[in-house]
Point group: C2
Chain length 218, copies 2
């Protein structure tokens, strides 16, 4: 299954600006992208990066450049595949799902083989990953897109499977999410993961001094 991974090269991860400088955010975003591409591949997907501009990294997969807003670029890519090319299904997995494991993605891909739309909601009502197999499905990433995408599926008569995964629900885009990444990296001891390693090398560590678990930077 082809798996599109949208990636913004234009001011990525701006909500991390309180803890990371612009060049750090760009490097961290690329580390997460590479981790996601690895996980997609290990889960049996064929990744393709859908980037807004040239990506300054040695990517293990094809890149399509489309500088339009996310919703337009993804809809054009879905049309090209489910319409013109006659692909049975295509997946879209966000590039900041740094906690995504092959197991979690396998569950998503498996659900997408059974339903017209398999969707992994993000915390806050976003759509972090989905598999679409219905040619009339289109995305609208504005606001609580998880609810919008379920409504769109209802309107076109597409069956829906919801994938309940904390790892796929956690898009890393604000400081609290960094703690999430370090917690699960520490628990699982995945030595190959670039994003948590980058964070640790940048001086980040878990911090529970105020009773809640966050991050501190040395």
């Amino acid at each position: 299954m082809e798996v599109l991974v949208p990636f913004s090269t234009d001011r990525p991860k701006s909500r991390l600006s309180t803890v990371l400088a612009p060049d750090e955010r760009a490097r961290f975003a690329r580390a997460m992208l590479l981790d996601v591409l690895d996980a997609v591949g290990a889960a049996g997907g064929e990744p393709c990066v859908l980037a807004t501009g040239a990506v300054d990294a040695d990517l293990p997969c094809p890149v399509t450049i489309d500088d339009r807003p996310l919703t337009d670029a993804v809809n054009a890519a879905l049309d090209a595949r489910l319409g013109a090319s006659g692909a049975e299904r295509v997946a879209v997995v966000m590039a900041d799902l740094a906690l995504a494991t092959p197991d979690a993605l396998r569950e998503l891909f498996g659900a997408g083989r059974e339903a017209d739309l398999a969707i992994a909601p993000g915390r806050g009502g976003g759509t972090n990953a989905f598999v679409a197999g219905h040619p009339a499905f289109e995305v609208d990433y504005h606001g609580a897109s998880y609810l919008d995408h379920r409504r769109i599926a209802d309107e076109i008569g597409a069956s829906v499977a919801v994938v309940d995964s904390h790892r796929l629900a956690t898009d890393v885009d604000e400081p609290a999410d960094l703690a999430e990444l370090l917690i699960h990296d520490e628990a699982d001891d995945d030595e190959g993961a670039r994003a948590p390693r980058w964070l640790r090398e940048a001086g980040f560590a878990l911090d529970a001094t105020d009773g809640r678990v966050g991050v501190k930077r040395e």
Copy 2:
């Protein structure tokens, strides 16, 4: 399987104090507790509330009162069951997992039949739910308890299964979590759920006016 549901009757949900008055927090906490007890029962568990004091609600299950801190009360309950009574396993599910569905809990209970410890990490590194089948396992809820509990399992040679569920990872204890509850209630249209109904009746609704999805109160 017996499923202990710890519930604090002493200043519950204090981190919601910016949006709910004390009596509202108490009512909302009881609504969540009742929803969790329903989901546990529907998943085939036998719930038992482990409360710090008398619960002002018509509960569908036994209540054990233990006014000690959470860690001590849960450890005493685990000892009494896995030690003295010879129970094969016991589950502990937090009372604020208002998004928990029977499906998500069935997955936890199923994992707990295969491993010595099945654990559902919470966002922020907490331990939102677990099934323990090893008599030497004990809890320590301070800090990033998910990491501590995995270390404790390693030390006693207990096998571990991690349950990756956004629903079980979401303990409702701060305002952003209220949005999570309303989003998934709207998506799933579960008419029986008390906690989201209570929120709506109290005037809460989803609000995406600043680009991120939160709640507003009319």
